[in-house]
Structures are given as structure tokens and as C-alpha cells.
């Protein structure tokens, strides 16, 4: 037995080592086993090729499934015309009720092209879309939270739609704030889809009871404070103001427009090269001071300290709150009788002026989408005036400034107020919005808690400046 072993030592390394015996199993497995070698070699090459391909897929920036999009090019006149097949549309779960309305009408009128809508949970949207794009299984069309559009545009994940957008007849009436979030270096990578803007809702009945003029809503911080004091004096669990103190996203949505009303922002520069200006922003300090006063003077409902957003606005709908910064959805959910009591104004700045958060969703077509032409055909349909006029049915606002016809204003009086503010709407173009404002325990939340609940505004702003700057450098690294 031992005499035969050396003859099986075909592994040169093994053969050179004195006293080392070749293991027949490992010899066969390693392909150095004599007669097996010629048959195994091509198999090894195939395995190596497959492994290399798999690794390339896994490590690839875009993914294996990526290929040149099917159908006509974006610049072609046929792009978005008479497309066929299926369009897979990923919508935010929040905006999907409106998306369902559009899809149903589109599918009823388009025989050769069908849209299939998949609602994606808002908090998981970015992760799922990014993963899908990386793995080459991106949908044809996305309805993404507009504030997150830049994340994908900056990383070249969306199709350049400039030539198609420029051909849109409604381009000039689209919400400028939303549209701005789809641009980079003068190119369009999407279009607005639907609006979800922030406003100051107020209870006209409580205003009247408190001796205030229900037709004179607050126009600056002094008005808000004075009106809140008058309404809180009514007692019986009635408060002048309410906010979602533990919902960092809600707070960013409703407080930042107070700052933007002064035509300033806490971010300066273009995405990829921005810096934070929290400490030098006077309006930011004034806004935190207003909320601190509302809280410390017991003008805001006690539940404001613990409201996580789960029951945000319920106290207002119960008729116990004078003023609530919120979105149109809160008013839309009110019983019809109560809706008549609700007034709405854009969010005022410290000394006047106003702004609104251009929230909602933007359309985008991932670069490796299989049916971009079909997706664009649906986008053109969704942007039509008739379709946009149905946005209030889903609890949202249209993103066309020309939808506010007399019939629309009569049917949706609150929404019409919001529509008037559309040209002054704004949303920051930054890569760090999520990390700064929506991250639990993020710099915005920490700054708010320290300033409003702890009363340490100076240190809150000082820490906020550092936190915002760190978040920017993380996001842009």
C-alpha cells in the first residue's frame, strides 16, 4: 500500500514534501487525480466563470439585471407613446390611495399598456428601492418621497428625462418646489407627482369663542402667541396650540417653513458641497423660541411632549386645539361638519411672510427599468389636469398651479388655499435630509428637545450646528 502511494503523488507540492502522503480524496477533488483531470478541467473553468459572474453581480454598482432600457430613447418622439406591456409602479404607501385612483383610470382607458401598483411602506422605501436597483430588479416607475429624490439623482440612479420633460405642455404650471427636487445641473430626472404640503390649520369656532376674528388667522409669531393665549384661557382642556413633539419628521415638516418664510435655509450650497448654517440662522432661533414659549407657558397641549405622530391631529379634530401645524390629510380626515370649522393658512415666518413644505412625491424612472416608455406614458397621464384635480380624494394636493378652478375651490376650499401657496412652496435640496430630520435621535430631534422641552436654546443651537454639519459630511462622503 505504502509502496503504491508515491505513484499517486501527482501534486508537485505534495511530491516535494518528504513523508507527506497524498490523500486520494483531496487529490481527486483538487483535480490532480490522474485520469479525472482532463474531464474536470472544463468544469472547473465553468465553475470559475460562474463564480466570477456571480461576484461581479454582487459587487457591481448597478446589478446583473441591468441592461439597456427597452423601447424608444427618451429623446425620441415615440418615447411615452403607444407603449405596450406592463409598467411596475412602486408608490409610497402614504400616497398610494391616490395612486390607485390614477392606475384604475389609466388601465380602464389603455388596452395595450397596464400599470401595476405596489405600495411600499414609507420608512422602507429608500432601502427597498436602492436594493432593487442594485440587484437589477428595479420597477419601471417610482413615486418617491420628493425629499429623497436627490439621493437617487445624485447617485445617477434615475433616467435623464430632460428632453421629455421639456416637451410637457404643463411644464410651466408644475410646482416649482417639487420640480426643483428632480433637477441636477439643469437636467430633469423626474417630475412632480402629488403634493403634501404643511399648513397652519386653525379652529374657527374656538377663535370666535376666544373673542378672536376667525377671518384673521395668525400672520406672524406674535399673532400665534397671542391667539394661543386667548384660546388656552377658554379652559376645560382647550389649548391654543399642539405639535407632535416626538415625531421628528412631523416637526421638520411643520417648523422648517417658518424658517423658509424668511427666504433662508439651514443648508447652503449644492448637494455634494453643502454646509450647515443653523447657528447663524436667526429665523431658526426665533422658531425654536416660539415653540419653547408655547410649551413653557402651557399654551400647547400636554400630549405634545409624547406625540409620536401615531395620533397626530386627533386632539385638533376633537375640537380641543386652536392651532395645529399639519398637512392637508388631517383636515381631509375630519368629519364634514367639522371641516367647515377649519381654517388654513400657509405657515407664517417670525415677522410675516409665509412658506410651506413642498412634501409629497415625485416620479422617477430607474435607469435599468425594463419599460421606461410605458412608465412615461403613465406619467403624462397622471400629470393631466383632470387627474391632478382628484388629488384631494387621496388626502393630497395637486402639483399643478392651474388646477384651482372655481369648481375646484368650491369643492375643496381648504385645498384651494394650499394650492395658492404652491408657487411659494419649498423643500431643501440636500442629501442629508433623512439623516438630519427623519432619523430618530438625529441632530434635529436632539436640537428640538433641548431647546423646547429643556429650555436650553443656546446649547441646542450650538449642538444643532455641529450635528447638522456632521450629518452633511456623512451623507456627502
Amino acid at each position: 500500500m505504502s509502496a503504491r502511494l508515491p505513484r499517486r503523488q501527482t501534486d508537485p507540492a505534495s511530491a516535494r514534501l518528504p513523508g507527506r502522503r497524498a490523500n486520494p480524496v483531496s487529490a481527486r477533488l483538487s483535480g490532480h487525480g490522474g485520469p479525472l483531470t482532463p474531464r474536470r478541467a472544463p468544469a472547473r473553468r465553468r465553475v470559475a466563470a460562474v463564480t466570477a459572474a456571480a461576484l461581479a453581480c454582487l459587487t457591481g454598482a448597478v446589478g446583473c439585471g441591468s441592461s439597456k432600457p427597452a423601447g424608444p430613447a427618451v429623446s425620441s418622439p415615440q418615447f411615452g407613446t403607444n407603449a405596450t406591456g406592463v409598467v411596475h409602479f412602486w408608490d409610497r404607501s402614504a400616497t398610494s390611495p391616490y395612486g390607485q385612483i390614477l392606475v384604475k383610470e389609466f388601465n380602464a382607458t389603455h388596452k395595450h399598456l397596464k400599470v401595476e401598483l405596489s405600495p411600499i411602506q414609507d420608512t422602507q422605501y429608500v432601502t427597498k428601492l436602492a436594493t432593487a436597483i442594485r440587484s437589477g430588479s428595479a420597477p419601471d416607475l417610482v413615486g418617491i418621497d420628493d425629499i429623497n429624490s436627490q439621493l437617487f439623482i445624485y447617485n445617477k440612479a434615475f433616467l435623464d428625462l430632460t428632453s421629455a420633460v421639456n416637451k410637457l405642455p404643463e411644464k410651466n404650471v408644475l410646482s416649482p418646489g417639487h420640480l426643483n427636487l428632480t433637477t441636477e445641473n439643469g437636467h430633469y430626472y423626474g417630475t412632480p407627482y402629488v403634493g403634501d404640503m404643511s399648513f397652519l390649520l386653525y379652529n374657527k369656532t374656538l377663535f370666535k369663542k376666544a373673542g378672536l376674528d376667525p377671518n384673521k388667522p395668525p400672520r406672524n409669531f406674535a399673532d400665534i402667541l397671542a391667539d394661543a393665549k386667548a384660546i388656552t384661557k377658554l379652559g376645560h382642556g382647550t389649548y391654543g396650540f399642539s405639535f407632535a413633539g416626538r415625531c421628528e419628521g412631523c416637526l421638520g415638516f411643520t417648523m422648517m417653513p417658518d424658517v423658509w418664510a424668511t427666504n433662508t435655509d439651514v443648508f447652503k450650497g449644492q448637494p455634494g458641497n453643502q454646509h450647515a448654517t443653523v447657528s447663524s440662522n436667526k429665523a431658526m432661533r426665533q422658531t425654536l423660541t416660539l415653540y419653547r414659549k408655547l410649551w413653557s407657558q402651557h399654551l400647547a397641549a400636554p400630549e405634545s411632549e409624547t406625540e409620536t405622530g401615531a395620533t397626530w391631529g386627533q386632539d385638533f379634530l376633537a375640537g380641543k386645539i386652536g392651532m395645529l401645524p399639519a398637512g392637508y390629510g388631517t383636515a381631509a380626515n375630519a368629519p364634514p361638519a367639522f371641516q367647515k370649522q377649519i381654517g388654513a393658512v400657509p405657515l407664517p415666518g417670525p415677522d410675516g411672510g409665509y412658506s410651506t413644505f413642498d412634501g409629497g412625491a415625485n416620479f422617477g424612472i430607474p435607469k435599468n427599468a425594463p419599460n421606461p416608455s410605458g412608465a412615461w406614458e403613465f406619467v403624462k397621464f397622471a400629470l393631466q389636469k383632470e387627474q391632478q384635480a382628484q388629488a384631494p380624494l387621496g388626502g393630497f394636493e395637486p402639483i399643478r398651479t392651474d388646477v384651482g378652478t372655481p369648481a375646484f375651490k368650491k369643492k375643496y376650499p381648504i385645498n384651494a388655499v394650499l394650492l395658492n401657496a404652491l408657487p411659494k412652496g419649498y423643500a431643501p435640496k440636500t442629501l442629508s435630509y433623512n439623516v438630519t430630520f427623519n432619523q430618530p435621535g438625529g441632530p434635529w430631534e436632539q436640537m428640538f428637545i433641548k431647546a423646547v422641552f429643556d429650555g436650553d436654546i443656546d446649547n441646542a443651537i450650538k449642538n444643532g450646528q455641529t450635528g447638522f454639519a456632521d450629518a452633511l459630511s456623512q451623507a456627502e462622503s
Partner: protein, 317 residues
């Protein structure tokens, strides 16, 4: 006669069977074929992902867009990540707080239900039920019950005159940690109970009877017989409990979201935020691998400290 024939034939048949079996099992290909499915699974679902995770940890790997290699930067940044370091300390503190109560409550419950007295099965089920229901569901339930002015906890405390019913449990660090710890002890002690109960039922009853005859009290029997013979089971339950606590995520994610600020952020929660909120998968993977090493070291330390006499003797020899 028949018996003799059988006796003679049996060894011969057995020998032939053994030879056949040896011929089959001694062929190297058979052993390899038998272990290869398990080996492939381990390669596909453990080794390859682990290797790939190591690869990712040396890149900037954003969730969106291309990646590039950054060398050991993700690892060298770990000591500078103040939130991560805070989360490690908080997680260690949380693990320290809950481990002993989980064990003691679990042991107490096991003592209550280890006999087969009437109703024991009902109690076993009742005590084990929180573990079956799951921590995520229970966290959501507690989230509702801790709400100021509307939750059952505040309602009851108000009714007995201890509070005014508006305690914001989850926005004060101490209250929030207390609430989570109580929840977790309630949830996890059922599992400890089951493990210890199974161990207790395996101890021969004769030993207790002998001890009783010798005049040993209940406490003496528990401390001198039950605990020493349960040493390995106790070690297992403590190791499971510590690892589970160190990897805590659900309860904090649902109840406190790591807040107020980052005061109740656990290690896993911070890694999650790093990967899926900040979108830095490369850095998050480096933190995950560091966590794997830390958990491995903690478990190794536990194995070493909780080893029994047999292990010590085998180490000594």
C-alpha cells in the same frame, strides 16, 4: 438446537454486515457525499455571506450608487463613533440589568411548575405564552398601554392615586428603560423556565429522597442537589439570555426608537440606522463584524466561567 444455530449464524451474519458497511463507509466518496449538502448550505448561507460582509466592510458601500475601497477606514472610525460607543455601554448596562431577573424569575417559575401536579400544565403554558406571542407584538401592546392619559398603565396608577395619569413613560430615559426591562423579564423568563424545568425533571428523584432521609431541608436540596446538577442548563440559559439582550432591537425600536436623543439606542439599532437611515452599509458592516467578535468573546468568557468540574478536569489533564 435452533438457538444454537442462530447463535452460530448471528456472529457470521453480523460480521458480514459489518464488512459490507465498512466497505461502503470506508469509501471516501460516500462520507463526502453525505456531508456535502450540509457543507454547501454552510458555504452558501454562512461562509460566503460572512466573507462578502468582510469585503463590504473594506469599502464605502453606499446603499445607492457605486462603491470604492476605503481600506481599514471603517474599522479605524469605530473608536471615533461616539454614538456607537454609547450604544455599547447602554447595551451592556441593559444586559446587566435584565439578565439576573430573567434567570431568577425563570428559576422560580420552573420550581413552581416542575412537578406534575394538577394544573401544572396550565401554569407552564401561561408562563411560556409571552415568549410564544413575541416581543414585537408585546412591544406594540405596551406602547399603547403606556400612553399618557389613555393607556392602561397610567389609568391604573391614577386610579390607585400614585400618579395623575399623565406620566410620559417613554420620553424619560429612566422610565423608558424601566418599562422595557419589565417587559423583557416578563417575555424571556418563560424560556428560561422551560429550559430549567426540563433540566430539573431529568434529575433522578432518588437523590432527593436520600437527601430527605438524611434530613436535608428544601433549601439544602435546592442548593446542594438541583443547582449543581443543573449547572450546564443554567449556563445555557444564561448564555442565551446574555446574547439575546446584547442583540436587543425590537423592543427599543418600537417603544423608544432609541430616544430620547440616543439615550436608549442599542448596538444593533445603531448599526441598523447606520445602514438603512444613513445608508452607509460599509461602515455598518464593519460595526456588525465588531459586534460578532464582541458577542463571541462574551460567550467564550461565559463558557469559561460556567464550565463544570468535568470540563475543568479534562482541561487539567
Amino acid at each position: 438446537m435452533t438457538a444454537t444455530t442462530v447463535d452460530v449464524q448471528r456472529p457470521a451474519e453480523a460480521g458480514a454486515r459489518r464488512r459490507r458497511r465498512r466497505r461502503v463507509t470506508s469509501r471516501p466518496g460516500v462520507g463526502l457525499a453525505l456531508v456535502s449538502p450540509a457543507f454547501l448550505f454552510v458555504v452558501a448561507f454562512v461562509l460566503f455571506p460572512l466573507g462578502f460582509a468582510v469585503f463590504i466592510s473594506f469599502t464605502n458601500w453606499p446603499l445607492i450608487g457605486p462603491y470604492h475601497f476605503v481600506g481599514a477606514e471603517n474599522y479605524s472610525n469605530i473608536p471615533k463613533d461616539t454614538v456607537f460607543l454609547h450604544s455599547v455601554l447602554f447595551t451592556l448596562m441593559y444586559t446587566g440589568i435584565v439578565t439576573v431577573p430573567i434567570f431568577l424569575v425563570g428559576y422560580g417559575l420552573a420550581v413552581l411548575v416542575r412537578s406534575n401536579r394538577r394544573g401544572a400544565t396550565w401554569f407552564r403554558t401561561a408562563f411560556f405564552l409571552p415568549f410564544v406571542v413575541g416581543l414585537a407584538t408585546e412591544s406594540f401592546m405596551l406602547l399603547l398601554e403606556l400612553q399618557p392619559n389613555s393607556g392602561a398603565v397610567n389609568f391604573l396608577l391614577h386610579k390607585v392615586g400614585l400618579t395623575d395619569g399623565s406620566t410620559p413613560w417613554l420620553v424619560r430615559t429612566n422610565f423608558a428603560v424601566t418599562a422595557v426591562c419589565v417587559l423583557v423579564v416578563w417575555y424571556a423568563s418563560g424560556l428560561t423556565m422551560m429550559l430549567l424545568m426540563a433540566g430539573m425533571q431529568g434529575i433522578p428523584h432518588d437523590i432527593y429522597e436520600s437527601a430527605e432521609v438524611d434530613g436535608a431541608s428544601w433549601w439544602a436540596r435546592e442548593l446542594r442537589i438541583t443547582v449543581p446538577l443543573l449547572r450546564r442548563t443554567i449556563a445555557l440559559s444564561l448564555i442565551l439570555s446574555v446574547i439575546g439582550s446584547f442583540l436587543a432591537f425590537n423592543q427599543f425600536y418600537i417603544l423608544t426608537q432609541g430616544g430620547p436623543g440616543v439615550s436608549t439606542t442599542t448596538v444593533v439599532q445603531w448599526i441598523y440606522q447606520k445602514a438603512f437611515v444613513q445608508l452607509h452599509v460599509g461602515a455598518a458592516t464593519a460595526l456588525s463584524l465588531a459586534l460578532v467578535i464582541v458577542v463571541g468573546l462574551i460567550s467564550a468568557a461565559q463558557f469559561f466561567l460556567l464550565r463544570d468540574d468535568d470540563d475543568r478536569k479534562s482541561e487539567a489533564s
